[in-house]
Protein backbone atom coordinates (compact mmCIF):
# COMPACT_ATOMS: atom_id res chain seq x y z
CA UNK A 1 0.00 0.00 0.00
CA UNK A 2 2.69 2.37 1.01
CA UNK A 3 4.66 1.60 -2.10
CA UNK A 4 1.64 2.20 -4.27
CA UNK A 5 0.98 5.58 -2.66
CA UNK A 6 4.59 6.47 -3.13
CA UNK A 7 4.45 5.43 -6.76
CA UNK A 8 1.32 7.48 -7.35
CA UNK A 9 2.91 10.44 -5.63
CA UNK A 10 6.00 10.42 -7.77
CA UNK A 11 4.02 9.75 -10.95
CA UNK A 12 1.83 12.73 -10.26
CA UNK A 13 4.76 15.00 -9.50
CA UNK A 14 6.73 13.85 -12.50
CA UNK A 15 3.84 14.31 -14.91
CA UNK A 16 3.00 17.72 -13.46
CA UNK A 17 6.60 18.81 -13.65
CA UNK A 18 6.85 17.58 -17.20
CA UNK A 19 3.79 19.58 -18.23
CA UNK A 20 5.16 22.63 -16.44
CA UNK A 21 8.56 22.41 -18.04
CA UNK A 22 7.68 21.22 -21.51
CA UNK A 23 6.67 24.60 -22.98
CA UNK A 24 10.02 25.96 -21.82
CA UNK A 25 11.87 23.19 -23.58
CA UNK A 26 9.77 23.73 -26.65
CA UNK A 27 10.46 27.46 -26.55
CA UNK A 28 14.21 26.90 -26.31
CA UNK A 29 14.15 24.32 -29.09
CA UNK A 30 11.98 26.68 -31.10
CA UNK A 31 14.57 29.42 -30.83
CA UNK A 32 16.88 27.19 -32.87
CA UNK A 33 14.38 26.45 -35.64
CA UNK A 34 12.72 28.30 -38.49
CA UNK A 35 9.17 29.64 -38.31
CA UNK A 36 7.85 26.84 -40.51
CA UNK A 37 9.57 24.14 -38.50
CA UNK A 38 8.02 25.55 -35.34
CA UNK A 39 4.59 25.70 -36.95
CA UNK A 40 4.97 22.06 -37.95
CA UNK A 41 5.75 21.17 -34.33
CA UNK A 42 9.41 20.21 -34.72
CA UNK A 43 10.68 19.09 -31.33
CA UNK A 44 14.40 18.77 -31.80
CA UNK A 45 17.07 21.42 -31.81
CA UNK A 46 17.95 23.01 -35.12
CA UNK A 47 20.70 25.23 -36.39
CA UNK A 48 18.79 28.49 -36.74
CA UNK A 49 19.62 29.99 -33.35
CA UNK A 50 22.23 32.30 -34.76
CA UNK A 51 19.96 33.40 -37.59
CA UNK A 52 17.08 34.09 -35.21
CA UNK A 53 19.34 36.01 -32.84
CA UNK A 54 20.68 38.01 -35.74
CA UNK A 55 17.17 38.77 -37.00
CA UNK A 56 16.07 39.97 -33.60
CA UNK A 57 19.16 41.96 -32.65
CA UNK A 58 19.46 43.34 -36.15
CA UNK A 59 15.92 44.67 -36.22
CA UNK A 60 15.67 45.94 -32.65
CA UNK A 61 17.94 47.56 -30.13
CA UNK A 62 17.47 44.72 -27.64
CA UNK A 63 19.98 45.97 -25.01
CA UNK A 64 18.19 49.30 -24.91
CA UNK A 65 14.76 47.69 -24.68
CA UNK A 66 15.99 45.39 -21.91
CA UNK A 67 17.42 48.38 -20.09
CA UNK A 68 14.10 50.21 -20.43
CA UNK A 69 12.26 47.27 -18.92
CA UNK A 70 14.79 46.87 -16.12
CA UNK A 71 14.78 50.55 -15.32
CA UNK A 72 11.00 50.83 -15.24
CA UNK A 73 10.64 47.71 -13.13
CA UNK A 74 13.47 48.63 -10.78
CA UNK A 75 12.16 52.12 -10.08
CA UNK A 76 8.60 50.87 -9.74
CA UNK A 77 9.61 48.15 -7.30
CA UNK A 78 11.61 50.43 -5.03
CA UNK A 79 9.06 53.22 -4.92
CA UNK A 80 6.08 50.98 -4.55
CA UNK A 81 7.67 48.94 -1.78
CA UNK A 82 8.37 52.08 0.24
CA UNK A 83 5.03 53.72 -0.35
CA UNK A 84 2.72 50.74 -0.02
CA UNK A 85 4.44 49.33 3.05
CA UNK A 86 4.36 52.73 4.75
CA UNK A 87 0.66 52.98 4.02
CA UNK A 88 -0.03 49.43 5.13
CA UNK A 89 1.84 50.05 8.37
CA UNK A 90 -0.25 53.13 9.01
CA UNK A 91 -3.49 51.34 8.20
CA UNK A 92 -2.62 48.47 10.52
CA UNK A 93 -0.98 50.12 13.47
CA UNK A 94 -2.52 53.58 13.58
CA UNK A 95 -6.09 52.72 12.75
CA UNK A 96 -8.71 55.45 12.77
CA UNK A 97 -12.24 55.43 11.44
CA UNK A 98 -11.23 57.50 8.44
CA UNK A 99 -8.25 55.31 7.67
CA UNK A 100 -10.43 52.20 7.76
CA UNK A 101 -12.82 53.84 5.36
CA UNK A 102 -9.98 54.69 3.00
CA UNK A 103 -8.67 51.15 3.28
CA UNK A 104 -12.10 49.76 2.43
CA UNK A 105 -12.18 51.94 -0.67
CA UNK A 106 -8.74 50.76 -1.67
CA UNK A 107 -9.86 47.12 -1.48
CA UNK A 108 -12.80 47.95 -3.69
CA UNK A 109 -10.62 49.80 -6.20
CA UNK A 110 -8.51 46.68 -6.56
CA UNK A 111 -11.13 45.10 -8.82
CA UNK A 112 -11.43 47.91 -11.36
CA UNK A 113 -10.17 46.85 -14.81
CA UNK A 114 -7.30 48.99 -15.96
CA UNK A 115 -8.83 49.32 -19.42
CA UNK A 116 -11.57 51.54 -18.04
CA UNK A 117 -9.09 54.06 -16.64
CA UNK A 118 -6.96 54.41 -19.72
CA UNK A 119 -8.51 57.49 -21.26
CA UNK A 120 -8.51 59.67 -18.13
CA UNK A 121 -4.95 58.56 -17.42
CA UNK A 122 -3.90 59.40 -20.93
CA UNK A 123 -5.37 62.89 -20.67
CA UNK A 124 -3.62 63.43 -17.38
CA UNK A 125 -0.23 62.26 -18.58
CA UNK A 126 -0.58 64.42 -21.65
CA UNK A 127 -1.22 67.41 -19.39
CA UNK A 128 1.93 66.56 -17.45
CA UNK A 129 3.89 66.22 -20.72
CA UNK A 130 4.61 62.62 -19.91
CA UNK A 131 3.38 60.83 -23.02
CA UNK A 132 6.16 58.63 -24.36
CA UNK A 133 8.00 58.96 -21.04
CA UNK A 134 8.67 56.02 -18.78
CA UNK A 135 7.38 58.04 -15.86
CA UNK A 136 3.89 57.73 -17.31
CA UNK A 137 4.02 53.99 -16.70
CA UNK A 138 5.81 54.17 -13.39
CA UNK A 139 3.59 56.70 -11.64
CA UNK A 140 0.25 54.86 -11.88
CA UNK A 141 1.95 51.58 -10.94
CA UNK A 142 3.65 52.75 -7.75
CA UNK A 143 0.59 52.65 -5.54
CA UNK A 144 -0.01 48.93 -6.01
CA UNK A 145 -3.18 48.17 -4.09
CA UNK A 146 -2.51 44.48 -3.74
CA UNK A 147 0.79 45.27 -2.04
CA UNK A 148 -0.95 47.49 0.51
CA UNK A 149 -3.25 44.59 1.30
CA UNK A 150 -0.33 42.17 1.35
CA UNK A 151 1.82 44.29 3.67
CA UNK A 152 -1.05 44.94 6.02
CA UNK A 153 -1.68 41.22 6.39
CA UNK A 154 1.98 40.79 7.27
CA UNK A 155 2.13 43.68 9.71
CA UNK A 156 -0.70 42.13 11.70
CA UNK A 157 1.83 39.85 13.34
CA UNK A 158 4.30 42.63 14.08
CA UNK A 159 4.30 43.13 17.87
CA UNK A 160 2.95 46.48 19.00
CA UNK A 161 5.22 46.39 22.03
CA UNK A 162 8.26 46.96 19.89
CA UNK A 163 6.71 50.05 18.35
CA UNK A 164 5.69 51.37 21.72
CA UNK A 165 9.08 50.69 23.21
CA UNK A 166 10.80 52.57 20.42
CA UNK A 167 8.41 55.46 20.95
CA UNK A 168 9.43 55.68 24.57
CA UNK A 169 13.03 55.85 23.50
CA UNK A 170 12.08 58.91 21.51
CA UNK A 171 12.20 57.54 17.99
CA UNK A 172 10.07 59.33 15.43
CA UNK A 173 7.43 57.46 13.44
CA UNK A 174 9.60 57.26 10.34
CA UNK A 175 12.62 56.17 12.33
CA UNK A 176 10.64 53.35 13.83
CA UNK A 177 9.50 52.29 10.44
CA UNK A 178 12.83 52.36 8.65
CA UNK A 179 15.13 51.32 11.52
CA UNK A 180 12.93 48.82 13.36
CA UNK A 181 10.12 47.51 11.22
CA UNK A 182 11.88 47.27 7.88
CA UNK A 183 14.86 45.16 9.06
CA UNK A 184 12.54 42.75 10.85
CA UNK A 185 10.33 42.15 7.87
CA UNK A 186 12.92 41.41 5.21
CA UNK A 187 11.31 38.26 3.86
CA UNK A 188 8.00 40.06 3.48
CA UNK A 189 9.78 42.69 1.44
CA UNK A 190 11.48 40.02 -0.63
CA UNK A 191 8.14 38.46 -1.50
CA UNK A 192 6.63 41.84 -2.25
CA UNK A 193 9.62 42.74 -4.41
CA UNK A 194 9.21 39.62 -6.52
CA UNK A 195 5.52 40.25 -6.91
CA UNK A 196 6.01 43.91 -7.79
CA UNK A 197 8.81 43.16 -10.22
CA UNK A 198 6.85 40.53 -12.11
CA UNK A 199 3.85 42.78 -12.21
CA UNK A 200 5.80 45.64 -13.64
CA UNK A 201 7.90 43.51 -15.98
CA UNK A 202 4.81 41.92 -17.49
CA UNK A 203 2.64 45.00 -17.62
CA UNK A 204 1.30 45.44 -21.09
CA UNK A 205 -1.61 47.84 -21.38
CA UNK A 206 0.03 50.97 -19.96
CA UNK A 207 3.24 50.69 -22.00
CA UNK A 208 1.14 49.97 -25.06
CA UNK A 209 -0.78 53.18 -24.64
CA UNK A 210 1.91 55.53 -23.43
CA UNK A 211 5.05 54.50 -25.26
CA UNK A 212 5.13 55.59 -28.86
CA UNK A 213 8.69 55.29 -30.05
CA UNK A 214 10.75 52.14 -30.29
CA UNK A 215 13.56 53.51 -28.16
CA UNK A 216 11.10 53.63 -25.25
CA UNK A 217 9.69 50.15 -25.72
CA UNK A 218 9.65 47.44 -23.07
CA UNK A 219 10.27 43.74 -23.67
CA UNK A 220 6.64 42.79 -23.18
CA UNK A 221 5.58 45.40 -25.69
CA UNK A 222 8.18 44.14 -28.14
CA UNK A 223 6.91 40.56 -27.86
CA UNK A 224 3.35 41.55 -28.54
CA UNK A 225 4.38 43.71 -31.47
CA UNK A 226 6.53 40.88 -32.86
CA UNK A 227 3.52 38.59 -32.80
CA UNK A 228 1.14 41.01 -34.45
CA UNK A 229 2.90 43.62 -36.55
CA UNK A 230 3.60 41.46 -39.57
CA UNK A 231 1.35 39.12 -41.48
CA UNK A 232 4.13 36.60 -41.73
CA UNK A 233 5.05 36.29 -38.08
CA UNK A 234 8.52 34.98 -37.45
CA UNK A 235 8.10 32.41 -34.70
CA UNK A 236 11.84 31.86 -34.33
CA UNK A 237 12.64 35.44 -33.40
CA UNK A 238 9.55 35.55 -31.21
CA UNK A 239 10.87 32.57 -29.28
CA UNK A 240 14.23 34.23 -28.82
CA UNK A 241 12.56 37.41 -27.61
CA UNK A 242 10.35 35.50 -25.17
CA UNK A 243 13.38 33.69 -23.76
CA UNK A 244 15.29 36.92 -23.30
CA UNK A 245 12.29 38.53 -21.65
CA UNK A 246 11.87 35.60 -19.27
CA UNK A 247 15.47 35.49 -18.06
CA UNK A 248 15.27 38.35 -15.51
CA UNK A 249 12.12 37.05 -13.82
CA UNK A 250 13.59 33.58 -13.82
CA UNK A 251 16.83 34.70 -12.20
CA UNK A 252 14.98 36.81 -9.68
CA UNK A 253 12.80 33.89 -8.78
CA UNK A 254 15.63 31.38 -8.51
CA UNK A 255 17.57 33.60 -6.16
CA UNK A 256 14.70 34.78 -4.08
CA UNK A 257 12.27 31.91 -4.03
CA UNK A 258 13.08 30.91 -0.44
CA UNK A 259 12.34 34.43 0.69
CA UNK A 260 9.25 34.46 -1.46
CA UNK A 261 7.74 31.41 0.19
CA UNK A 262 8.68 32.67 3.62
CA UNK A 263 7.34 36.14 2.91
CA UNK A 264 4.10 34.86 1.52
CA UNK A 265 3.60 32.82 4.70
CA UNK A 266 3.17 36.00 6.67
CA UNK A 267 0.34 37.25 4.52
CA UNK A 268 -1.75 34.21 5.20
CA UNK A 269 -2.54 34.75 8.85
CA UNK A 270 -5.93 36.21 8.26
Amino acid sequence: MKKLTSLLKYTFLIISSFISIFPFYWMIAGATNTANQIAEGKLTFGDQLFVNLQDLFGAYDIPLIMWNSLKISGVTVILSLIITSLAAFGFEKFTTKTSELIYGLILLFMVIPLASLVIPLFKMMAGLQLVNQHLAIILPAINNLFLIFFFRQNFKSFPNEIIDASKIEGASNYEIFFRVVFPMMKSTYAAAAIYAFMNSWNSYLLPLIFLQTENKYTMTLLISSLSSASYVANYGTQMVAIIIATIPTLILFLFMQKGFVKGMTGSLKM
Binding site: T5, L13, F24, T220, L250, K269
Partner: protein, 295 residues
Protein backbone atom coordinates in the same frame (compact mmCIF):
# COMPACT_ATOMS: atom_id res chain seq x y z
CA UNK B 1 -3.25 44.92 21.50
CA UNK B 2 -5.92 46.78 19.62
CA UNK B 3 -7.31 48.08 22.90
CA UNK B 4 -4.08 49.62 23.90
CA UNK B 5 -3.58 51.37 20.64
CA UNK B 6 -6.98 52.94 21.05
CA UNK B 7 -6.18 54.04 24.59
CA UNK B 8 -5.84 57.80 24.74
CA UNK B 9 -2.83 57.56 26.99
CA UNK B 10 -1.17 55.13 24.59
CA UNK B 11 2.07 56.34 23.24
CA UNK B 12 1.07 55.77 19.67
CA UNK B 13 -1.10 58.57 18.35
CA UNK B 14 -3.53 57.16 15.85
CA UNK B 15 -3.75 60.52 14.15
CA UNK B 16 -0.19 59.84 13.03
CA UNK B 17 -1.75 57.52 10.47
CA UNK B 18 -1.61 60.35 7.92
CA UNK B 19 2.14 60.45 8.08
CA UNK B 20 2.14 56.90 6.74
CA UNK B 21 -0.69 56.84 4.31
CA UNK B 22 -0.39 60.32 2.85
CA UNK B 23 1.79 59.27 -0.11
CA UNK B 24 -0.47 56.42 -0.96
CA UNK B 25 -3.59 58.55 -0.56
CA UNK B 26 -2.19 61.25 -2.82
CA UNK B 27 -1.24 58.73 -5.47
CA UNK B 28 -4.59 56.97 -5.15
CA UNK B 29 -6.46 60.23 -5.57
CA UNK B 30 -4.51 61.32 -8.60
CA UNK B 31 -4.05 58.06 -10.47
CA UNK B 32 -7.10 56.13 -9.31
CA UNK B 33 -9.89 58.18 -7.82
CA UNK B 34 -9.79 60.88 -10.46
CA UNK B 35 -9.81 58.44 -13.39
CA UNK B 36 -12.61 56.50 -11.69
CA UNK B 37 -14.78 59.56 -11.23
CA UNK B 38 -14.02 60.56 -14.78
CA UNK B 39 -15.08 57.15 -16.05
CA UNK B 40 -18.39 57.47 -14.18
CA UNK B 41 -18.87 60.74 -15.99
CA UNK B 42 -18.04 59.03 -19.29
CA UNK B 43 -20.53 56.24 -18.60
CA UNK B 44 -23.36 58.76 -18.74
CA UNK B 45 -22.45 59.70 -22.29
CA UNK B 46 -22.86 57.96 -25.59
CA UNK B 47 -19.78 58.62 -27.66
CA UNK B 48 -18.83 58.00 -31.20
CA UNK B 49 -15.29 58.99 -31.91
CA UNK B 50 -15.09 62.64 -30.93
CA UNK B 51 -18.84 63.18 -30.62
CA UNK B 52 -20.36 62.83 -27.20
CA UNK B 53 -24.01 63.07 -26.14
CA UNK B 54 -25.31 63.00 -22.59
CA UNK B 55 -27.66 60.02 -22.26
CA UNK B 56 -28.08 59.69 -18.50
CA UNK B 57 -28.53 56.04 -17.69
CA UNK B 58 -29.11 55.14 -21.33
CA UNK B 59 -25.89 53.14 -21.52
CA UNK B 60 -26.88 51.15 -18.47
CA UNK B 61 -30.25 50.30 -20.00
CA UNK B 62 -28.51 49.30 -23.21
CA UNK B 63 -26.20 47.06 -21.24
CA UNK B 64 -29.09 45.05 -19.83
CA UNK B 65 -30.24 44.21 -23.35
CA UNK B 66 -26.77 43.53 -24.67
CA UNK B 67 -26.69 39.77 -25.29
CA UNK B 68 -23.01 39.84 -26.13
CA UNK B 69 -22.11 41.40 -22.82
CA UNK B 70 -24.04 38.75 -20.92
CA UNK B 71 -22.55 36.03 -23.06
CA UNK B 72 -19.08 37.38 -22.32
CA UNK B 73 -19.90 37.42 -18.63
CA UNK B 74 -21.13 33.84 -18.86
CA UNK B 75 -17.82 32.90 -20.47
CA UNK B 76 -16.00 34.53 -17.59
CA UNK B 77 -18.05 32.46 -15.18
CA UNK B 78 -17.48 29.28 -17.12
CA UNK B 79 -13.74 29.86 -16.91
CA UNK B 80 -14.12 30.70 -13.25
CA UNK B 81 -16.21 27.66 -12.34
CA UNK B 82 -13.85 25.20 -13.97
CA UNK B 83 -10.47 26.82 -13.74
CA UNK B 84 -10.46 28.01 -10.13
CA UNK B 85 -11.46 24.69 -8.50
CA UNK B 86 -9.17 22.64 -10.75
CA UNK B 87 -6.31 24.96 -9.99
CA UNK B 88 -6.96 25.05 -6.26
CA UNK B 89 -7.22 21.27 -5.97
CA UNK B 90 -4.13 20.65 -8.09
CA UNK B 91 -2.21 23.33 -6.24
CA UNK B 92 -3.17 21.90 -2.87
CA UNK B 93 -2.26 18.41 -3.94
CA UNK B 94 1.13 19.53 -5.23
CA UNK B 95 1.85 21.50 -2.07
CA UNK B 96 0.81 18.60 0.10
CA UNK B 97 2.98 16.13 -1.79
CA UNK B 98 5.93 18.51 -1.82
CA UNK B 99 5.55 18.81 1.92
CA UNK B 100 5.77 15.07 2.63
CA UNK B 101 8.92 14.10 4.52
CA UNK B 102 11.73 12.25 2.75
CA UNK B 103 10.59 13.37 -0.69
CA UNK B 104 13.36 12.88 -3.22
CA UNK B 105 13.96 15.74 -5.64
CA UNK B 106 11.88 18.20 -3.66
CA UNK B 107 13.79 21.27 -4.86
CA UNK B 108 13.55 20.15 -8.45
CA UNK B 109 9.81 19.53 -8.28
CA UNK B 110 9.18 22.80 -6.51
CA UNK B 111 11.14 24.78 -9.08
CA UNK B 112 9.60 22.91 -11.98
CA UNK B 113 6.08 23.45 -10.77
CA UNK B 114 6.62 27.10 -10.06
CA UNK B 115 8.41 27.80 -13.33
CA UNK B 116 5.31 28.67 -15.42
CA UNK B 117 4.58 31.80 -13.45
CA UNK B 118 7.82 33.49 -14.46
CA UNK B 119 6.46 33.83 -18.00
CA UNK B 120 4.54 36.94 -18.90
CA UNK B 121 0.90 36.65 -19.83
CA UNK B 122 1.56 37.73 -23.38
CA UNK B 123 4.46 35.30 -23.78
CA UNK B 124 2.72 32.19 -22.59
CA UNK B 125 -0.42 32.95 -24.56
CA UNK B 126 1.69 33.25 -27.70
CA UNK B 127 3.43 29.95 -26.84
CA UNK B 128 0.18 28.12 -26.19
CA UNK B 129 -1.30 29.37 -29.41
CA UNK B 130 1.57 27.79 -31.30
CA UNK B 131 1.35 24.54 -29.34
CA UNK B 132 -2.40 24.07 -29.73
CA UNK B 133 -2.53 24.54 -33.48
CA UNK B 134 -4.35 21.87 -35.45
CA UNK B 135 -1.04 20.39 -36.63
CA UNK B 136 0.78 21.50 -33.51
CA UNK B 137 2.76 19.64 -30.93
CA UNK B 138 -0.16 18.89 -28.60
CA UNK B 139 -2.15 17.08 -31.25
CA UNK B 140 0.95 15.30 -32.50
CA UNK B 141 1.65 14.04 -29.00
CA UNK B 142 -1.90 12.98 -28.24
CA UNK B 143 -2.09 11.06 -31.52
CA UNK B 144 1.29 9.45 -31.00
CA UNK B 145 0.24 8.22 -27.57
CA UNK B 146 -3.03 7.08 -29.06
CA UNK B 147 -5.36 9.11 -26.85
CA UNK B 148 -7.11 10.58 -29.86
CA UNK B 149 -7.48 9.30 -33.41
CA UNK B 150 -7.97 12.59 -35.20
CA UNK B 151 -6.46 15.94 -34.38
CA UNK B 152 -8.58 18.12 -32.10
CA UNK B 153 -9.34 21.58 -33.38
CA UNK B 154 -8.37 23.18 -30.08
CA UNK B 155 -8.63 26.82 -31.01
CA UNK B 156 -11.63 26.83 -33.33
CA UNK B 157 -14.26 24.56 -31.90
CA UNK B 158 -16.54 26.24 -29.36
CA UNK B 159 -16.00 23.55 -26.76
CA UNK B 160 -12.28 22.93 -27.18
CA UNK B 161 -11.42 26.61 -27.35
CA UNK B 162 -12.85 27.02 -23.86
CA UNK B 163 -10.93 23.96 -22.73
CA UNK B 164 -7.72 25.37 -24.17
CA UNK B 165 -8.15 28.65 -22.30
CA UNK B 166 -8.79 26.75 -19.07
CA UNK B 167 -5.73 24.53 -19.62
CA UNK B 168 -3.58 27.57 -20.31
CA UNK B 169 -4.81 29.36 -17.20
CA UNK B 170 -4.20 26.31 -15.04
CA UNK B 171 -0.72 25.90 -16.45
CA UNK B 172 0.23 29.48 -15.67
CA UNK B 173 -1.35 29.88 -12.26
CA UNK B 174 -1.38 26.52 -10.44
CA UNK B 175 2.27 26.74 -9.43
CA UNK B 176 1.80 30.30 -8.32
CA UNK B 177 -1.03 29.37 -6.00
CA UNK B 178 0.87 26.32 -4.85
CA UNK B 179 3.45 28.64 -3.31
CA UNK B 180 0.78 30.10 -1.06
CA UNK B 181 -0.34 26.64 0.02
CA UNK B 182 3.25 25.58 0.68
CA UNK B 183 3.68 28.66 2.80
CA UNK B 184 0.44 27.89 4.60
CA UNK B 185 1.46 24.28 5.19
CA UNK B 186 4.56 25.40 7.01
CA UNK B 187 2.31 26.97 9.59
CA UNK B 188 0.73 23.61 10.29
CA UNK B 189 2.87 22.02 12.94
CA UNK B 190 4.27 18.60 12.25
CA UNK B 191 2.75 17.54 15.55
CA UNK B 192 -0.73 17.87 14.16
CA UNK B 193 0.13 15.69 11.22
CA UNK B 194 1.97 13.17 13.37
CA UNK B 195 -0.92 13.02 15.78
CA UNK B 196 -3.20 12.28 12.86
CA UNK B 197 -0.87 9.56 11.70
CA UNK B 198 -0.79 7.96 15.14
CA UNK B 199 -4.59 8.00 15.06
CA UNK B 200 -4.25 5.87 11.96
CA UNK B 201 -5.02 8.47 9.31
CA UNK B 202 -3.75 7.63 5.83
CA UNK B 203 -2.52 10.16 3.33
CA UNK B 204 -5.95 10.99 1.95
CA UNK B 205 -7.45 11.42 5.39
CA UNK B 206 -4.61 13.63 6.47
CA UNK B 207 -5.14 15.72 3.35
CA UNK B 208 -8.86 16.18 3.77
CA UNK B 209 -9.24 16.17 7.55
CA UNK B 210 -6.17 18.06 8.65
CA UNK B 211 -4.60 20.00 5.83
CA UNK B 212 -7.63 21.43 4.09
CA UNK B 213 -9.35 22.85 7.19
CA UNK B 214 -6.11 24.38 8.42
CA UNK B 215 -5.44 25.98 5.07
CA UNK B 216 -8.90 27.46 4.76
CA UNK B 217 -7.79 31.10 5.06
CA UNK B 218 -5.18 30.54 2.35
CA UNK B 219 -7.69 28.85 0.10
CA UNK B 220 -10.10 31.73 0.54
CA UNK B 221 -7.33 34.18 -0.22
CA UNK B 222 -6.25 32.44 -3.42
CA UNK B 223 -9.84 31.88 -4.49
CA UNK B 224 -10.63 35.57 -4.21
CA UNK B 225 -7.51 36.72 -6.03
CA UNK B 226 -8.09 34.10 -8.77
CA UNK B 227 -11.70 35.15 -9.09
CA UNK B 228 -10.69 38.75 -9.61
CA UNK B 229 -8.07 37.63 -12.10
CA UNK B 230 -10.46 35.45 -14.07
CA UNK B 231 -13.11 38.13 -14.23
CA UNK B 232 -10.57 40.61 -15.57
CA UNK B 233 -9.20 38.03 -18.00
CA UNK B 234 -7.90 39.74 -21.12
CA UNK B 235 -4.31 39.14 -22.30
CA UNK B 236 -4.69 35.37 -22.61
CA UNK B 237 -7.87 35.19 -24.65
CA UNK B 238 -6.84 38.03 -26.92
CA UNK B 239 -3.60 36.27 -27.80
CA UNK B 240 -4.88 32.69 -27.76
CA UNK B 241 -8.28 32.67 -29.42
CA UNK B 242 -9.08 36.33 -30.05
CA UNK B 243 -12.39 35.66 -28.30
CA UNK B 244 -13.50 33.20 -30.96
CA UNK B 245 -15.03 31.07 -32.24
CA UNK B 246 -18.44 32.71 -32.24
CA UNK B 247 -17.55 34.72 -29.14
CA UNK B 248 -17.28 31.46 -27.20
CA UNK B 249 -14.18 32.65 -25.39
CA UNK B 250 -14.91 36.37 -25.47
CA UNK B 251 -14.49 37.88 -22.01
CA UNK B 252 -16.05 41.00 -20.58
CA UNK B 253 -12.70 42.79 -20.46
CA UNK B 254 -12.12 42.06 -24.13
CA UNK B 255 -15.56 43.38 -25.03
CA UNK B 256 -14.77 46.56 -23.10
CA UNK B 257 -11.56 46.85 -25.06
CA UNK B 258 -13.39 46.27 -28.36
CA UNK B 259 -15.86 49.04 -27.62
CA UNK B 260 -12.97 51.34 -26.79
CA UNK B 261 -10.60 50.62 -29.63
CA UNK B 262 -11.80 48.07 -32.19
CA UNK B 263 -15.34 49.16 -33.06
CA UNK B 264 -16.24 52.77 -33.59
CA UNK B 265 -14.77 53.99 -30.36
CA UNK B 266 -17.37 54.52 -27.62
CA UNK B 267 -15.70 55.16 -24.29
CA UNK B 268 -19.05 55.97 -22.74
CA UNK B 269 -20.40 52.49 -23.24
CA UNK B 270 -17.15 50.78 -22.38
CA UNK B 271 -17.01 52.73 -19.11
CA UNK B 272 -20.54 51.51 -18.40
CA UNK B 273 -19.52 47.91 -18.97
CA UNK B 274 -16.49 48.40 -16.73
CA UNK B 275 -18.70 49.61 -13.93
CA UNK B 276 -21.03 46.67 -14.30
CA UNK B 277 -18.00 44.42 -14.03
CA UNK B 278 -16.72 46.21 -10.92
CA UNK B 279 -20.05 45.83 -9.19
CA UNK B 280 -20.25 42.15 -10.07
CA UNK B 281 -16.74 41.46 -8.79
CA UNK B 282 -17.42 43.35 -5.57
CA UNK B 283 -20.60 41.35 -4.95
CA UNK B 284 -18.83 38.08 -5.68
CA UNK B 285 -15.96 38.86 -3.33
CA UNK B 286 -18.37 39.77 -0.57
CA UNK B 287 -20.34 36.55 -1.08
CA UNK B 288 -17.15 34.48 -1.01
CA UNK B 289 -16.03 36.18 2.19
CA UNK B 290 -19.45 35.71 3.77
CA UNK B 291 -19.58 32.02 2.90
CA UNK B 292 -16.11 31.37 4.20
CA UNK B 293 -16.80 33.26 7.43
CA UNK B 294 -20.02 31.40 8.09
CA UNK B 295 -18.56 27.96 7.92
Amino acid sequence: MQIRSKDKRGRRQNQDVWKFIIFSVVLSSVFLLYPILYSIYLSLHNMQGLQSVFVGFGNYLRMFQDDIFWKALMNNFTFLIFQVPIMVVLGLLMAFLLNTPNLKGRTFFKLALFLPCVTSLVSYAVLFKMMFQMGGIVNDTLMAIGIVQNPIDWLNSPFWAKVTVIIALCWRWTGYNMIFYLAGLQNISDDTLEAAEIDGANGFQKFFKVVIPQLKPVIVFTTITSTIGTIQLFDEVVNLTGGGPSNETLTAAQLIYNHSFIYTSNFGYSATLSWALVIIIAILSIIQLKISNRE
